[in-house]
């Protein structure tokens, strides 16, 4: 029996957990769709120390111009700029990686502060990884034209399992629960009651569950990778959503990579959403993000290695990504035309990455 117990405690030599790779990214992003342009820079820098510690810093800006259909039809105000910065710290102990991070986002009518703690541990010789995390968000919602101010408390819980299934196949399952309490609607947006505008009224709580599955397969004989993702979502507002995504990636020569992918998203809207209510209700929403709709996107990615082993840098790479997304709403009307609303969006990301 003792031999059995000793055998049980024998752990095969492990491929130990590692710190995230040291790299710096400088990115420009551009979004254009539905009458709105959003663009700005983003930076992410990570540095490791003593093979046990890793620190990261990030910065992100959204500069919004134009006006969405909500703004056009409600003549409501909207923020012009959003900036977000974040810092993070990781600590590697054996096969366990612990991390803590903080981020803050500021607009002239919205502030968000988020603290995240996480832990991941490798099991079975690095074949399996258990990850868990918790984050706490503290948001402040304001209006630019009045003294209105309210808050949102947010708690997020994450649990994930990643499993190596074969020398060319890895899969993961992730769960995320979010609980929010506070002022959860846009303070500018209006619902319609028999055609008349009335400020939206949302429940002050929302709890959601999301379950994601992902599998990456390396097709060695053709030297390309397929990534398949699926997510199921539901929440206490009555929203259910499913999305599936498939991406093909491969190398071309020694310096280039290309990728092509598509994503399909379908959503059943919130129970208190209506395009035009027949009377006043306790909760009323006309946010198209809470309606019944589908979105389909296709995109591509090209990257090129600019240099290797130059000075203190191991590698430098330039990447261009493009996505075209079509949103099609089943019960949200463009009141200018009386037709169901739909629009196309173009998303471009161009970024330079240096490893060191």
């Amino acid at each position: 029996m003792l031999a059995l117990l000793l055998a049980a405690f024998y752990v095969a030599p492990a491929a130990a957990a590692t710190l995230p790779e040291e790299r710096a990214d400088a990115l420009y992003h551009y979004y254009s769709g539905g009458g709105v342009d959003v663009q700005g820079p983003a930076l992410l820098v990570r540095k490791n120390f003593a093979e046990k510690y890793s620190v990261s810093a990030s910065y992100y800006v959204d500069s919004v111009s134009g006006a969405s259909i909500d703004v056009v039809t409600n003549a409501s105000a909207y923020s012009e700029n959003r900036s977000q910065f974040g810092v993070g710290f990781d600590y590697l102990y054996g096969d366990t990686l612990m991390n803590i991070s903080y981020s803050q986002s500021d607009e002239n009518d919205y502030e968000a502060k988020t603290m995240v703690v996480g832990l991941s541990h490798d099991f079975f010789g690095g074949m399996s990884t258990l990850a868990m995390g918790f984050s706490r968000g503290d948001d402040t919602v304001m209006r630019v034209d009045t003294m209105f101010e309210d808050t949102i408390d947010r708690f997020q819980y994450r649990l994930g399992w990643t499993q190596i299934l074969s020398p060319t196949l890895v899969a993961a399952i992730n769960y995320e629960g979010v609980a929010e309490e506070g002022f959860l609607n846009n303070p500018y947006r209006s619902a319609r009651v028999l055609g008349a505008s009335v400020l939206e009224r949302y429940p002050r709580t929302r709890t959601s569950n999301a379950l994601g599955l992902q599998a990456n397969k390396y097709w060695g004989d053709r030297s390309f990778v397929t990534r398949l993702k699926y997510r199921f979502y539901d929440d206490t507002w009555g929203i259910t959503a499913n999305n599936i995504e498939l991406i093909f990636s491969r190398r071309i020569g020694e310096k280039s990579e290309v990728g092509l992918g598509g994503r399909f998203y379908v959503q059943n809207g919130a129970s208190f959403y209506s395009d035009n209510f027949d009377q006043e209700y306790l909760y009323m929403a006309r946010d198209k993000e809470l309606s019944d709709f589908t979105s389909v996107s296709f995109g591509g990615r090209v990257s090129y290695e600019l240099f290797r082993d130059r000075g203190r840098f191991a590698k430098g790479k330039l990447t261009l990504m493009y996505d075209r997304i079509h949103f099609s709403y089943d019960n949200f009307t463009d009141i200018r035309s009386g037709e169901l609303y739909e629009f196309n969006a173009n998303v471009i990301q161009l970024f330079f990455t240096a490893w060191y």
Binding site: D25, G86, G177, A241, E257, E289
Partner: protein, 71 residues
Amino acid sequence: MRKLSLLLIVLLLGACATEPWVRPYEREALADPLMSFSQDPIADNVRTHVLEVREGARGAGESHGGGCGCN
């Protein structure tokens, strides 16, 4: 019952002794950056943000925090 419990404990602990059926030297393809779940975290965060502010669903992805920036 006691023997059964002991056997169960041994079997469960035995899971810790499982020889990895994919040995470290067989993980070349798995270590390829193309096989990473998040090859470029900065780009994934931007894309997740673009989608989450326009869709009702959120979570089970890679991004955390952030405001709206969504008009």
